[in-house]
């Protein structure tokens, strides 16, 4: 189970500027490699896909494997053509989708 994602996007930018976005979501990222107290393997449950879009256009995507740490963190860049909203989605193995948004203003 994941908690509310944390996102860091600048509030404003100039047109065409490349900005840095940082995101972090709390999630155990159970790798499927661990065993419980009785020696039974704990089934894998991770976030397997992260997507960032800007006004419907894909900016950045990541396919995650179990080797990604708990509470997956991503830092990446994005070009800002105009004012708009960044949308972020995280897809869990169990089908849950976590979503977040961040607006940006072009001055």
């Amino acid at each position: 189970m994941a908690s509310k994602p944390r996102i860091k996007v600048p509030k404003s930018a100039s047109a065409g500027e490349v900005i840095t976005i940082k995101t972090l979501i709390s999630h155990e990222m159970e790798s499927g490699q661990r065993k419980d107290g009785d020696g039974n393997p704990i089934p894998r449950q991770i976030i397997n896909k992260f997507t960032c879009t800007f006004e419907g256009q894909t900016v950045f995507e990541c396919d995650l494997d179990p080797a990604i740490s708990a509470n997956p963190y991503f830092e990446f860049n994005a070009k800002v053509p105009a004012s708009g909203t960044f949308k972020f989605t995280w897809l869990d193995d169990d089908g849950t989708v976590y979503e977040a948004e961040a607006p940006i203003e072009v001055k």
Partner: protein, 151 residues
């Protein structure tokens, strides 16, 4: 060992059990060959060149549970000089794949940072796929004091 009827039966049963186990359980640790194979699958058999891509990871990671890793490709991110994706492998983990980043022109720059788990001291490898069909690779060895996979 003499090839008696009893031995042959025992061997066959053992082999069958092994085959069943092998189908369900991944091998304890991915070997360098498995990583090599995964890289070949990603590049479609093409040889990855050097340069252009920079992989940043610590030389020594005290805790294998969260090892910061960054990749950066020197690219205009326009036209043919666009980085389509970067894949990261760790050749000493139970399975070598770590993550695949996908970029677009909207990315502005082919740069990504995340945190990964490393089971033990091993090589971390990043391979970038360019839009023009070329590949670039960088490799770093990370020494791990405490492993990050499993209990």
């Amino acid at each position: 060992m003499q090839l008696t009827r009893r031995n042959v039966l025992g061997l066959t049963a053992g082999a069958a059990a092994f085959a069943v186990a092998g189908a369900r359980v991944t091998p304890a640790f991915a070997s360098a060959e498995a990583t090599e194979k995964s890289i070949m699958e990603f590049t479609g058999g093409a040889t990855a060149g050097e340069g252009k891509i920079t992989l940043t990871a610590p030389e020594i990671a005290e805790n294998g549970n969260t090892v910061p890793v960054s990749v950066n490709v020197d690219s205009a991110m326009e036209g043919d000089d666009l980085v389509e994706s970067i894949i990261i492998f760790a050749d000493g983990n139970p399975s070598p794949a770590v993550a695949t980043f996908h970029f677009t022109e909207m990315s502005g720059e082919a740069l990504a940072t995340t945190r990964m788990r490393l089971a033990k001291t091993q090589n971390v490898i990043a391979v970038a796929k360019m839009k023009d069909g070329s590949f670039f690779m960088d490799k770093k060895q990370v020494k791990v004091t405490i492993g990050g996979c499993g209990g």
